[in-house]
């Protein structure tokens, strides 16, 4: 790029190839209790929910827990062909070890970058 006016312009990148992965930001909530999950247990719960709804064939899709923050928010990565299945399974999941629980899906995206900020959970210091 040349010229002064274009010096500070942003470079727009558009990717039109099929998205290999989808990313889901979610948290697991138990009824009445706070969030207490470690990544291993979370993965187990997810596999269980997939097996329940879509059986062993459905559970054979790879689901990765990329990150589990201290606040209980988990970042899942899933191949785009099984993305809808995973979302459906998370929605229909209702009980783990007899405890009623629920998956709250906060945000969903085909690129990791767009999950870095969410206007819904944006905490403005001056407002609070």
């Amino acid at each position: 790029m040349t010229g002064d006016s274009e010096k500070h312009s942003y470079l727009r990148q558009v990717d039109k190839s099929p998205a290999p992965y989808f990313y889901i930001k979610t948290s697991l909530e138990y009824e009445g209790r706070g969030l207490e999950t470690d990544s291993l247990q979370l993965k187990h719960v997810i596999m269980q929910s997939m097996t329940e709804v879509f059986g062993q064939v459905g559970a054979s899709d790879t689901v990765d827990v990329l990150k589990l923050s201290a606040s209980g928010e988990a970042l899942l990565r899933v191949p785009s062909r099984s993305f809808v299945k995973l979302w459906g399974a998370l929605t229909l999941f209702g009980k783990y070890n007899g405890l009623p629980c629920v998956f709250r899906v906060q945000q969903v995206s085909s690129s990791l970058m767009s999950l870095s900020c969410n206007s819904r959970t944006w905490d403005i210091p001056a407002m609070s």
Binding site: T51, E52, V53, F54, G55, Q56, V57, G58, L92
Partner: protein, 169 residues
């Protein structure tokens, strides 16, 4: 309106402990074992999608042949589930799918042909002379059936060609 279409699976039940034993299997046992396998493989989704159409249409207790029906939109799920069957009733068994057809009639046709082809194999398995005679008789009768069948088709073709020849002259 469009008719709801089905797929029919013709399968033979194979018992690992030999097929000569007489076993008391009900078509309900087959149905439930297929349903269990479907549930294990495809979960609640598979059951929900196929339960309305899954049905055992035919069960032969002597030859261990079954015809299972499934909705055509999702017949591949049922096809996969059939291979995962491990137990029927209280017997260890699995299903060997021989033919997939759109109608029961097509499956029956295939079944007859299949049996005819496998008669010589049965002859090899015979132990006593009586059994051998029996199988030989069956072989002969099936050949006679085929002969009359081919004769009939020949006649039909001949008459057809005659009619065609007449119309030409």
């Amino acid at each position: 309106m469009v008719r709801l279409k089905h797929r029919y699976f013709l399968a033979e039940i194979i018992f690992p402990d030999g097929r000569r034993l007489q076993r008391n299997i009900k078509s309900n046992d087959v149905y439930f074992s297929v349903r269990e396998a479907l549930h294990a493989a495809y979960g609640d989704y598979g059951i929900g999608v196929l339960k309305s159409s899954l049905m055992v249409k035919y069960l032969n207790k002597d030859t261990h042949m079954v015809i299972v029906r499934a909705k055509r939109d999702f017949y591949r799920l049922a096809q996969a589930a059939l291979t995962f069957v491990k137990k029927i009733g209280e017997h260890d068994a699995f299903l060997n799918t021989l033919h997939i057809g759109g109608t029961i009639r097509a499956c029956q046709k295939f079944l007859i042909r299949h049996h005819r082809q496998h008669l010589p194999l049965l002859y090899q398995e015979c132990d006593t002379q009586e059994e051998r005679d029996n199988v030989q008789l069956m072989l002969l009768s099936s050949c006679v059936d085929m002969e009359t069948f081919s004769k009939k088709t020949e006649e039909k073709e001949r008459s057809l060609s005659e009619i065609a020849g007449e119309s030409l002259t």
